[in-house]
C-alpha cells in the first residue's frame, strides 16, 4: 500500500518535471491565484487591526451641565454603568478636566496665559463611556440624549467618529468583496490552465497509460500520478508564494504602517505563517486536484 503510494507520488513528480512548459504555465497561474489569496489574508489582518484600533479610541463623552447637582451626577453615572452595552464609565470632574488640560498643554504658554486671564475653570465635568462594541454606541448616545436627562447632560460627543468608523468598515468590506471576486476569477483561470495541463499530460502519456492498462494496473495506479501532478503544482506554488511573501512583507511593511499606524505587516505575516501556509496549501492543492479530476474523468479512460 505504502509502496504503491510512494510510486504514485514519484510518478506524479516525474510527470510534473517532464512536461516543463505545461507544468510551468499551471504553476505560474497558481502562483498568481495564491498571491492574491495571501494578499487578501494580509489585507484582512491590516483592516481588522485598523478598525479595531479606531474602535478602541472611540468613546462617548457626556458633558455635565454646570447646574447639575452631585446627586444627579451620581444617579447618571450609576444608571449609565447599569446599561448592558456599557463596558466602562469614568467620571471626570471639572477640576480633573482642568488638570488634564493643563498637563496636556503645559508647553503652550498662550493657552496657559488665556486660562489665567479667564480667572475661572471653563471646562465642564464629563462622563467618559466605553461600550462593549462599536455597534452599541448609538444606543448609549440615545440614552444620554433623552430629554429627561437634559438638565444633567449638556452635550454628547460621539456622532462624527461613528460615521468615520462606519465608512471605513464599508470601504474594507468593499475591498474584501473585490478581492474575493478577483480570487474566484483567478481561481477559474487556474482551474482551466491546470485542467489543460493534465489533459496535455494525459495525451503525451497515452502510450504509458495503454501499457499500464494492458499489464493490469489498477484504476488508481493509472489515475493517481495525474492527480499527484495537481498536488505538486499546488505545493510548489505555495512554496514560491511564501518565498516571495517574506521579502515583500518586509519591503511593504513600512509603507503599510504609514497607512495603518501600529500595524507591522512582517510581524503579522510571520506570526500567521502557519495559517497562511495551510490556506495556501488548501487552495493550491484543492484547485490542482479538482482540475486534474475533471480532466481525468473526461479524458482518461481506464
Amino acid at each position: 500500500m505504502l509502496t504503491g503510494f510512494k510510486r504514485i507520488v514519484r510518478s506524479g513528480w516525474e510527470k510534473f518535471a517532464r512536461d516543463k512548459s505545461s507544468s510551468g504555465a499551471a504553476l505560474f497561474t497558481m502562483v498568481i491565484v495564491l498571491s492574491v489569496v495571501a494578499a487578501l489574508y494580509c489585507f484582512q489582518g491590516a483592516s481588522s487591526f485598523f478598525v479595531s484600533s479606531l474602535q478602541e479610541s472611540v468613546d462617548i463623552s457626556a458633558y455635565i451641565a454646570d447646574t447639575a447637582s452631585s446627586e444627579d451626577i451620581e444617579k447618571l453615572e450609576a444608571s449609565v454603568k447599569a446599561l448592558p452595552e456599557v463596558k466602562q464609565a469614568e467620571f471626570i470632574s471639572k477640576e480633573e478636566a482642568l488638570e488634564r488640560f493643563v498637563n496636556d498643554h503645559k508647553n503652550d504658554e498662550v493657552i496657559l496665559q488665556s486660562l489665567e486671564v479667564l480667572g475661572q475653570n471653563p471646562l465642564s465635568a464629563s462622563l467618559n463611556i466605553k461600550a462593549r462594541g462599536s455597534e452599541h454606541y448609538p444606543a448609549i448616545a440615545e440614552f444620554l440624549e433623552d430629554p429627561s436627562l437634559s438638565s444633567v447632560v449638556s452635550f454628547v460627543d460621539y456622532r462624527d467618529r461613528a460615521r468615520i468608523i462606519e465608512r471605513l468598515e464599508k470601504l474594507a468590506d468593499g475591498i474584501r468583496g473585490a478581492a474575493l471576486f478577483f480570487i474566484v476569477f483567478a481561481g477559474l483561470i487556474g482551474v482551466l490552465v491546470a485542467f489543460n495541463t493534465t489533459r496535455l499530460t494525459i495525451y503525451s502519456s497515452r502510450d504509458e497509460v495503454e501499457v499500464m492498462r494492458l499489464v493490469g494496473a489498477g484504476n488508481w495506479y493509472i489515475r493517481g500520478p495525474f492527480l499527484m501532478q495537481g498536488v505538486v503544482v499546488g505545493v510548489f506554488a505555495t512554496l514560491i508564494v511564501l518565498l516571495f511573501m517574506f521579502p515583500a512583507a518586509m519591503f511593504l511593511g513600512v509603507r503599510v504602517s504609514s497607512f495603518v499606524p501600529g500595524f507591522d505587516l512582517f510581524q503579522f505575516f510571520a506570526s500567521n505563517i502557519v495559517w497562511i501556509l495551510l490556506l495556501q496549501l488548501g487552495v493550491g492543492i484543492g484547485l490542482g486536484v479538482f482540475s486534474a479530476l475533471i480532466a481525468i474523468r473526461k479524458y482518461l479512460k481506464v
Binding site: T3, G4, R18, D207, V211, L214, V215, G216, A217, G218
Partner: protein, 226 residues
C-alpha cells in the same frame, strides 16, 4: 484454455471485422494467427484482452467469459497476459531495466523482488548488459527483446505478440521468433499474430488463417497460404 465461440464483431454493418469465428487454444500451445492487413487478427486479440466487446458470441478464458469480468477484476485478468507490440511501446524516458521493472511496480512488487526478477528476465532475453540503455540507444531487435522481457516479467499464462517482427530485419526476426519459441517451451501459451510468411513456414506450429474476418483454415502444423 482460450475459447472463441461464434464470435462476431461489427464496426461497419456491410463488412464485419470478425465474422462468426470459433476456435480454442490449449494451455502451452503455440498458435499463429495469419492473414492480410485488415483480416481481423488484431480485432481478435483486442476481443480477448477485453479492449473490445463482441457484437455476438463469447470469448472464454478457462471457465470465465472475458466480457463478463467485472471492471474491478479486469486488472487481475490482464496480469495473466503478456503483450508484445509491433511498435514495442517502450517508455522512451525509462531505461531497459526501468521499462521491465515498471510492470512489477504496477503490480505492487517489492523493490528487492523487482531487482532480482528484472535481471533474471533480461538475462533470458540476452540483454543483461544493456539494462541501463534507453530505448533510443537500442536496435529494433533489442527494443523488441525488452518488450518481450516486459511481457514475461509477471510470469503470465499467455503471451500475445501482435506483429512482433513487423519492424525488424530478417536477422532480428529470426532472433525474436526463436525467443518466443523458447518461452513457449518453458510452458507459456503463445499467440502470434503476423503476416510474415517465412516465420510461419519455419515454425511448423498451429496456424489459424483469417480472411475478411472469417476463419478459413485451422491446421496443426500449418503453412502460410494466402
Amino acid at each position: 484454455m482460450i475459447l472463441f465461440k461464434e464470435v462476431t464483431k461489427i464496426y461497419a454493418p456491410e463488412r464485419p471485422a470478425v465474422d462468426n469465428v470459433s476456435f480454442g487454444v490449449e494451455p502451452g500451445e503455440f498458435t499463429s494467427l495469419v492473414g492480410k492487413s485488415g483480416s481481423g487478427k488484431t480485432t481478435l486479440l483486442k476481443l480477448f484482452l477485453r479492449e473490445e466487446f463482441p457484437t455476438a458470441g463469447q470469448v472464454m478464458f478457462g471457465e470465465q467469459n472475458v466480457h463478463e469480468i467485472p471492471d474491478v477484476r479486469l486488472p487481475e485478468f490482464r496480469r495473466k497476459v503478456g503483450m508484445v507490440f509491433q511498435d514495442y511501446k517502450l517508455l522512451q524516458y525509462k531505461t531497459a531495466y526501468e521499462n521491465v521493472a515498471y510492470v512489477m511496480e504496477v503490480m505492487g512488487a517489492k523493490e528487492e523482488d523487482i531487482e532480482r526478477d528484472v535481471m533474471e528476465v533480461l538475462d533470458i532475453v540476452g540483454l543483461e548488459d544493456q539494462a541501463e540503455q534507453y530505448p533510443y540507444q537500442l536496435s529494433g531487435g533489442e527494443k523488441q527483446r525488452v518488450a518481450i522481457a516486459r511481457s514475461l516479467i509477471h510470469r503470465p499464462d499467455i503471451i500475445i505478440a501482435d506483429e512482433p517482427t513487423g519492424n525488424l530485419d530478417p536477422y532480428h526476426t529470426k532472433d525474436i521468433v526463436a525467443l518466443l519459441v523458447k518461452i513457449n517451451e518453458l510452458g507459456t501459451t503463445v499467440i502470434l499474430a503476423t503476416h510474415n510468411k517465412d516465420v510461419i513456414n519455419k515454425l511448423g506450429k498451429r496456424v489459424l488463417t483469417l480472411e475478411d474476418g472469417k476463419l478459413i483454415r485451422d491446421e496443426k502444423r500449418g503453412r502460410f497460404m494466402l
